[in-house]
Symmetry: C2
């Protein structure tokens, strides 16, 4: 959008795509998503603790997914040396749609669960604030709402995403304890970000909260600078991660918590140096948000295995100790998902043109934008060798209602109007020991992303969907 | 900075130039400026009410200043038809420097008084907030303050510019009374802005305050659209100003108050149509902020006449009824100013190379950037016909201390460091009847603009100086 070279100092900004009105979202689905976030946090913490189970899934992907394979290697390398930090921090976001049942009633269905770089907490709180102000603005104001009972009587639910996510980081910072350096160094939290990050204001909302409310020093380092600006003294077996701010090389901080807003996509690893940097962080004493294992627990294949309608009940195993009814409510949020192995139900459903119509084929590999829908699925599968089918997951389509209308302001200034579909994300944060002991488990805040009815893909930053807030009905 | 065409939808934004630290400013000067704002408000209201006195000054400028001449014609045209609104609103900003006396003590000296489009109230409140947060940020934070006792112990004074300026607009909206239309129309405030305005967020701070706190509908219209989007029904002798929002042409609002953030510079009047638009607003029943007469009261020639060390004591005349000591405190803020008429003291001081060194020559005409300094003055004057000298005002230089240091972030991303000079602006608002009766008179909020020691010109938007906040000492 900005011609390259026109903003060499990186000072220009534009809005994230945003809707002008809040969109309706079924209250029962919103409340269910909120109610289940803490048990979802626990589920992914427990999966991460079960290295054997996770390892089997990963090993099945190694041949078809370089990225998973390389992440696993990082884990094996660090494991060989021995981990020096037994705490993990998760800042998660569980994404859902309100699926319309044959009865017409809405039911909560999970789209995906994010265990790394769960974004938009900062901006979505601001969108909620903007919508609330506009709803309260005087009649006849320049952006007047269309007359609709929901818009007259409701305001979007409070959005505490910033408070919740920052409190998670602060809990990790606290749990890290005293400096492991001799003499002791001042402690800080480190945000590792993409060199070309555009979504900086979303991240600043969290660092500002950490600084001003929790009084914790926060620094940002681009992933390409990790090896230059951080170090682990070889003389210290505790392996503290030290950070030297480039603007003040005489001050050295010890990093309690590494918050990754980078390293989630394969195309961020351009050379072995990037993998070295990731390994360097992983082997340090800093608490990682997330660890490599926790990142791997969020891969689509894990979600497919949990949601496979037949086969072992992994969900109940991971959540044993919880109320059985609560576990079933988690299971109810799964849309059926299948692998495409020989003679599997998934393969039948995908290749049959009739049943394919009710499904989406999702690549296990991260990156987005590559889903294959409905009638396209059989031919798409037949166009590649069967050995590659392991890299794909078949998921029953979620059918959200699409009778709501909204107006979206894109980040290039274009204004779009029309029928929309909304996706709800709910934030949660959890801090746990690799023994399974949970130190902090909270839910708070949400993201609503709204897209035109005809758009199939999801990411806000890619410009397809807009940040929104919810009016519950 | 942005290549033309690269931002055709006007969605890109950059920061206003801003300092990273608050700058020191003498407490006695800050407090005196604050204490004098309400009597300054009154002074300029009284000047505006004295059409005869103001007319004489204007008539002396007609041959050398087209802009003043054309503004005066607008007044005469409306006067001929008869004004229908006897209320005027002023949103003023009085600008000062802390002049170092021979004793070394600082004294408050006025640079200029602004009666139209006094800007940066919204942004300067935000800069104060940013500096306060940075001062409170944890030790060792990424923008750490240099160790200095002032930075350890003080915070910038509260900045209530947004509250004060919006309350002035709200007072006018209230004083307008009921709709003059039959049937009655809903009422609104109208911001008239430049078509190419870049400083929109400063203005949005005021409209947001009006909407959310005062519950008043606010619309924005570009000055080029005034004649298309507003009208005065010829059948209504009260001449209400009607506004039809282009996005909702079926709704019509009656404008109580026209707030001009346009029409202050000669180059904004590109054709007779622009003058027609200004006349159209002036003859309407809306309360103008400011009227043409109030705008004219702010011309440099008026400030020179008030500050002329010899001659009639206009200041005391305008402020009669006020405590004499208070009037003298106003006079103490004047740096001596002179006209350049034949045999005048001003002409002698300007042409003598020795005395010229202590002066600045300012054009009466608005537009900025054309001051002539010190040794350049004699030759500059001799390069033009003496008949044009009437268009210039000679002012004794203010000598601010320049031992403070700061770091400024320009709007192109460049970072400047060095010794700086600060200029203080104090905001005030006043609503009065043309009989002289004052209905609302308040002071609140300030602007500190800081520039490198070697820069002579002032405007923030032009990129020469940076928004700042003050630490008082």
């Amino acid at each position: 959008m900005i011609p390259s070279g026109a903003d060499s100092n990186g000072v220009l900004a534009t809005n994230a795509p945003v809707t002008l009105f809040p969109s309706p979202f079924p209250r029962n689905c919103f409340e269910e998503a909120t109610a289940l976030q803490k048990i979802y946090n626990e589920l992914y913490a427990r999966i991460t603790c079960n290295e054997e189970w996770l390892g089997k899934i990963v090993e099945g992907l190694i041949e078809v997914d370089d990225f998973v394979s390389n992440l696993w290697k990082v884990h094996l390398d660090v494991q060989k040396e021995g981990y020096v930090q037994n705490l993990s921090l998760g800042l998660f976001r569980s994404d859902y749609m309100a699926h319309v049942l044959p009865t017409g009633a809405p039911a909560l269905k999970q789209v995906e669960f994010n265990t790394i770089s769960s974004s938009f907490g900062g901006l979505s709180a601001l969108v909620r604030q903007m919508h609330t102000e506009l709803l309260a603005s005087p009649p006849g104001s320049s952006i007047n709402y269309p007359p609709h009972p929901l818009l007259q009587s409701e305001v979007p639910p409070e959005n505490t995403a910033v408070e919740t996510l920052a409190a998670g980081l602060a809990a990790a910072h606290e749990a890290y304890g005293v400096s492991k350096s001799i003499p002791a160094l001042p402690l800080c939290v480190l945000f590792v970000v993409q060199d070309t990050e555009r979504n900086v204001f979303d991240q600043h909302a969290l660092s500002r909260q950490l600084k001003t409310i929790h009084n914790i020093p926060v620094f940002r380092v681009a992933s390409v600078d990790v090896l230059d600006q951080t170090s682990i003294p070889s003389s210290n077996p505790s392996r503290p991660l030290l950070y030297q701010p480039p603007h003040s090389p005489d001050s050295t901080f010890e990093v309690t918590t590494v918050y990754l807003r980078a390293y989630y996509s394969p195309d961020e690893y351009k050379s072995t140096r990037d993998w070295q940097a990731r390994t360097h962080l992983e082997r340090s004493a800093a608490i990682k948000c997330p660890t490599v294992l926790n990142q791997l627990s969020g891969c689509k294949k894990v979600q497919q295995v949990l949601a496979e309608p037949t086969g072992p009940d992994h969900l109940s195993s991971f959540l044993k100790g919880n109320d059985a009814a609560l576990v079933e409510r988690v299971r109810d949020t799964f849309a059926p998902q299948y692998d495409l192995s020989v003679n599997s139900q998934g393969r039948d459903l995908a290749l049959n043109p009739d049943t394919a119509l009710n499904h989406v084929l999702k690549p296990q590999r991260e990156g987005g934008g590559n889903n294959v829908y409905k009638a396209d699925i059989p031919d798409f599968l037949r166009s590649m060798p069967e050995s590659d089918w392991r890299g794909w997951v078949l998921m029953e389509l979620i059918n959200p209602a699409a009778n709501a209308q909204n107006v979206a302001l894109r980040n290039d200034g274009e204004v779009l109007r029309g029928n929309v579909i909304s996706e709800l994300g709910v934030y949660g944060t959890i801090l746990w020991e690799n023994t399974g002991k949970i130190l902090h488990n909270e839910q708070g805040g949400y993201l609503l992303r709204t897209k035109g009815k005809e758009v199939n893909e999801g990411g806000v930053a890619a410009g397809f969907s807009s940040l929104d807030s919810a009016l519950l009905f």
